[in-house]
C-alpha cells in the first residue's frame, strides 16, 4: 500500500498542475478544472493497470480530463464547438487574466487543444490521436493548419514589438 501511495503521490505531484493548466486552457474555470483534475486522478487510481509507465499515465490522465470536461459541458448543455471557427471560451480566461485570449481567438477549440498537447505537453502525434479521438494521420495536417493560424495572429504583435 505504501509503495502504491508513493507512486501515486509522485505522479500526482508531477502531473496535477499540467492537467489543471490544460483544462483551464480549454476553457474550464479554475474551480471546475480543479474538480475535474481530481476526478481524472481518481479514474487513474481505479484504473486496473495504473502502475504502467509514467508516459502512459500522462496520456491516460489527459484523455480522462478531456472526456470529463466534455461530459461536464454536456451536463451544462453547453455547445461544444470543437471544430467551429468561432472561439468558444472567453469567459473564464478573461475573468482571471491567466490566458492571453486575443492570440488564441482566431483558433477553434480543437486547434487550441492540438497546439497545447503538441507544444506545451509535447505529446507525440500518436498520443494526441489517442487523447483527442482523432485519426493519427490527420494530426500532422491539423497541427500544421493550427500553427499557421496562430502564427498569423502572433505576427501583428511581433511587428508591434519591433
Amino acid at each position: 500500500m505504501q509503495a502504491r501511495f508513493a507512486a501515486f503521490a509522485a505522479l500526482y505531484a508531477a502531473q496535477h498542475r499540467p492537467v489543471w493548466a490544460y483544462l483551464v486552457r480549454l476553457g474550464a474555470t479554475r474551480t471546475a478544472a480543479e474538480d475535474l483534475t481530481q476526478e481524472a486522478f481518481v479514474k487513474w487510481l481505479n484504473h486496473a493497470q495504473w502502475a504502467d509507465e509514467p508516459k502512459q499515465a500522462r496520456a491516460f490522465l489527459f484523455t480522462a480530463a478531456t472526456r470529463l470536461l466534455i461530459d461536464q459541458w454536456r451536463r451544462e448543455r453547453r455547445f461544444v464547438a470543437w471544430d467551429a471557427d468561432v472561439p468558444v471560451q472567453a469567459v473564464a480566461p478573461a475573468e482571471d487574466g491567466l490566458i492571453s485570449g486575443s492570440q488564441w481567438a482566431a483558433l477553434s477549440q480543437r486547434e487550441q487543444q492540438l497546439l497545447w498537447l503538441a507544444y506545451a505537453e509535447e505529446f507525440s502525434h500518436a498520443e494526441i490521436a489517442g487523447i483527442t479521438g482523432l485519426a493519427a494521420d490527420s494530426i500532422k495536417v491539423l497541427l500544421s493548419r493550427a500553427r499557421a493560424r496562430l502564427r498569423a495572429s502572433l505576427t501583428p504583435l511581433e511587428d508591434q514589438d519591433d
Binding site: 481530481q38 490566458i99 492571453s100
Partner: protein, 102 residues
C-alpha cells in the same frame, strides 16, 4: 533559433502552472479510497437484494408449480437469506461525486 509558436505556448503554460492550486495527494488518495468503498457497498447492496429476490421467486414458483415442499423449510430459507444479507442491505450514505476534497 527558437520556434516562436512553441515559445509562446510554453510561456502560457508556465503562467498557468504558477497559478495552479497546490496538490493534495494524501487527501485525494483517502477520498478515492472512500469512494471505492462506497461503490463496493452499493454493489453489495444490489447483490444482496438480488439474492433476496431470487429466494422469494423460487419460493413462489415452488408454491405455484405445486411442488409442495415443506412450508417451514421455504420460510426458513427466506428468513436465512434475509438475515445473511441484512448488513449489505442496510441503508448507507452515498458519496457525492463532486468536491472530493471538501
Amino acid at each position: 533559433m527558437t520556434d516562436p509558436i512553441a515559445a509562446f505556448i510554453r510561456g502560457e503554460r508556465e503562467t498557468l502552472l504558477r497559478a495552479a492550486p497546490p496538490p493534495h495527494a494524501a487527501r485525494l488518495w483517502h477520498a478515492a479510497r472512500r469512494r471505492r468503498a462506497a461503490s463496493l457497498r452499493r454493489t453489495m447492496r444490489v447483490a444482496a437484494w438480488l439474492v433476496r429476490l431470487a429466494v422469494a421467486t423460487a419460493m413462489l414458483l415452488s408454491f405455484f408449480l405445486s411442488l409442495r415442499p415443506e412450508a417451514w423449510l421455504l420460510l426458513l430459507t427466506f428468513a436465512l437469506s434475509v438475515w445473511l444479507t441484512r448488513g449489505a442491505c442496510a441503508p448507507g450514505h452515498d458519496e457525492p461525486r463532486k468536491g472530493l476534497l471538501e
